[in-house]
Every structure is written in structure tokens, then in C-alpha cells.
């Protein structure tokens, strides 16, 4: 049975991953709402995981190290989102705003 690996070149997956990563970078750099920045970081991590799994499927058959690494990327992304939202809630409770432009001073 032919798998997709023989029909789709590796560069296609890397292309998609690069575009998703650049989109995430734009989101982190230019969004003002803290939750939108968090979502853009998730997009970047997702793109990285796709990259790892693509390399594991195409070039690392028996060892599939990229697959293992993608599992850890997903784990770390989930942990990081939980923490980031805890921080966001704390900041929102204190400043009543989720706009990162207004939370620019360390001490009140």
C-alpha cells in the first residue's frame, strides 16, 4: 500500500510549517490582546511539531525521533498555555485590561 510519503514531497510539509510559523511570528509581534499573543505562540508550536513529524516520517523511519519530540512539544505547549492563562487572569484581575500595551510598567 502506498503511503502518502511516496506521493507528497517532503518540501510540501516544510512549506506549510514555515508559513504557519511566520504567521505566528506576525501574530506575536503585532497583536495587542494578550490572549491573541498566546494563540499565536500556540500556532508557532504547532508548526514546529508538524515540522518534526514530517522529518520523522520521511527520513527517520526506524527511530522516529521527531515523532517523540512532537509529543513533548505538545505536552510543553499545553503546560505553557495553562500557566500563561493563569498569569493573564492575575493581570486582568489587577489591571482590568488584557491589552498588553497598557501593562507596560512593572510597578504600579
Amino acid at each position: 500500500m502506498e503511503t502518502a510519503v511516496e506521493q507528497i514531497p517532503l518540501e510540501s510539509f516544510l512549506f506549510v510549517s514555515a508559513i504557519l510559523f511566520s504567521t505566528g511570528v506576525y501574530g506575536v509581534l503585532s497583536r495587542r490582546n494578550a490572549i491573541q499573543i498566546i494563540m499565536s505562540v500556540e500556532l508557532m508550536l504547532n508548526a514546529v511539531a508538524v515540522n518534526f513529524v514530517a522529518f520523522a516520517a520521511y527520513t527517520d523511519g526506524e527511530l522516529f525521533r521527531g515523532l517523540i519530540f512532537a509529543v513533548f512539544v505538545i505536552i510543553i505547549a499545553a503546560a505553557e498555555v495553562g500557566l500563561a492563562l493563569g498569569l493573564l487572569l492575575r493581570v486582568f484581575r489587577h489591571r482590568a485590561t488584557a491589552n498588553v500595551d497598557e501593562v507596560s510598567q512593572l510597578k504600579w
Binding site: T3, A4, V5, E6, I8, E11, S12, F13, F15, V16, A18, I19, L20, F21, T23, G24, V25, Y26, V28, L29, S30, R31, R32, I35, Q36, M39, E42, L43, N46, A49, V50, V53, A54, A56, A57, Y58, T59, D60, G61, F64, L67, I68, V71, I74, A77, A78, A79, E80, V81, L83, L85, G86, L88, R90, F92, R93, H94, A98, N99, D101
Partner: protein, 166 residues
């Protein structure tokens, strides 16, 4: 065009549209839904790459966990009542930087000569993956468990209401 290619292009279109929707749409809740769309399209990618377990993990953890957390955060921060702010003042620089980065990545991707694996593709079964995860990669796995526990406790501690706070 074979079916695999057609499915790949469809999933790629959905993922990229979802990604652009996350960073462009001013309504925060709609952007969160576009993120869910992008994450689910990535699960489709994993199925194409013969790693079905990772696709299920992606749907469960990202779609069912991360997306839910984000939507809950929006609910608690009352995302719909916040004024819809457009991009910040530095969005041209952000766009330029992301285009430069994307251009560099695409040049590297399309220009270099990636090694090909000749021969058959080894389908990674769930037993093989579990065996590798619990034997060869046991230490990172345990460390990841510790990281998750620390993150859980940290999130609870950080967002706990203390005395005198509203």
C-alpha cells in the same frame, strides 16, 4: 493528482487560512475558533504522515485542552466585551519581520537537498511508539510529567485569589 495530494492541499489550505485568521481577525473569540481550525487541520497532517496516535493526541490535547483553556480564559476575561482593538502600532515592522523570516525559511526549505529515505516507510505502530517512549525516552517522559505537575500547581498558585483582592 492523487487522492493523497488532494487531501494534503485541502488540509494545507485549511491550516493556513486558520493561521491567518488567528492573527488578522480583530474579534478574539473568532480568532480562537480559527486556531481550533488550524490545530485540527494539523491533526489531519499527522494522519497523512502515518502517525495516527499523534493525530489523536493532537485533537485531544490541543483541540480539547488548549483550545478549551483559551476559550475559558476568554470567558473569564470577558473577551467579547473588550473593545476590539486592531493590531498594535508596530504592525508594519511585525509584518516585515514575519515576511523576512518566512522568506528565509522558504528559501532554506526549497533550496536545500533533503535526504531521502529509500525503501519502504516503516509504519510506526502504537506498540513501537509506546515501547520507545517508555524505554528509550523514559527520562524525558518523566521530566515532562514533572513539568506538567509544576505548571498545574503554578497556574493554581498564580491565579489564586488572595485576601483583600476583588
Amino acid at each position: 493528482m492523487t487522492i493523497a495530494e488532494a487531501v494534503f492541499y485541502l488540509l494545507a489550505a485549511i491550516a493556513i487560512v486558520g493561521g491567518i485568521g488567528v492573527v488578522v481577525i480583530p474579534n478574539v473569540v473568532h480568532a480562537a475558533l480559527f486556531l481550533v481550525l488550524s490545530l485540527l487541520a494539523t491533526a489531519g497532517f499527522y494522519i497523512l504522515l502515518s502517525s495516527e496516535f499523534l493525530a489523536l493526541v493532537q485533537i485531544l490535547v490541543y483541540g480539547g485542552g488548549v483550545a478549551t483553556i483559551i476559550l475559558f480564559g476568554l470567558m473569564l476575561v470577558r473577551g467579547r466585551e473588550l473593545p476590539e482593538v486592531g493590531p498594535g502600532g508596530q504592525w508594519p515592522i511585525g509584518l516585515a519581520m514575519s515576511l523576512v523570516l518566512g522568506g528565509a525559511l522558504l528559501t532554506a526549505v526549497l533550496g536545500s537537498d533533503w535526504p531521502r529515505q529509500t525503501g519502504e516507510i516503516t509504519m510506526v505502530s502504537l506498540e513501537t511508539l509506546a515501547g520507545a517512549l517508555f524505554r528509550d525516552w523514559l527520562l524525558p517522559f518523566e521530566i515532562a510529567s514533572v513539568v506538567l505537575t509544576v505548571a498545574l500547581i503554578g497556574a493554581i498558585v498564580i491565579s489564586r485569589q488572595e485576601e483583600g483582592e476583588a
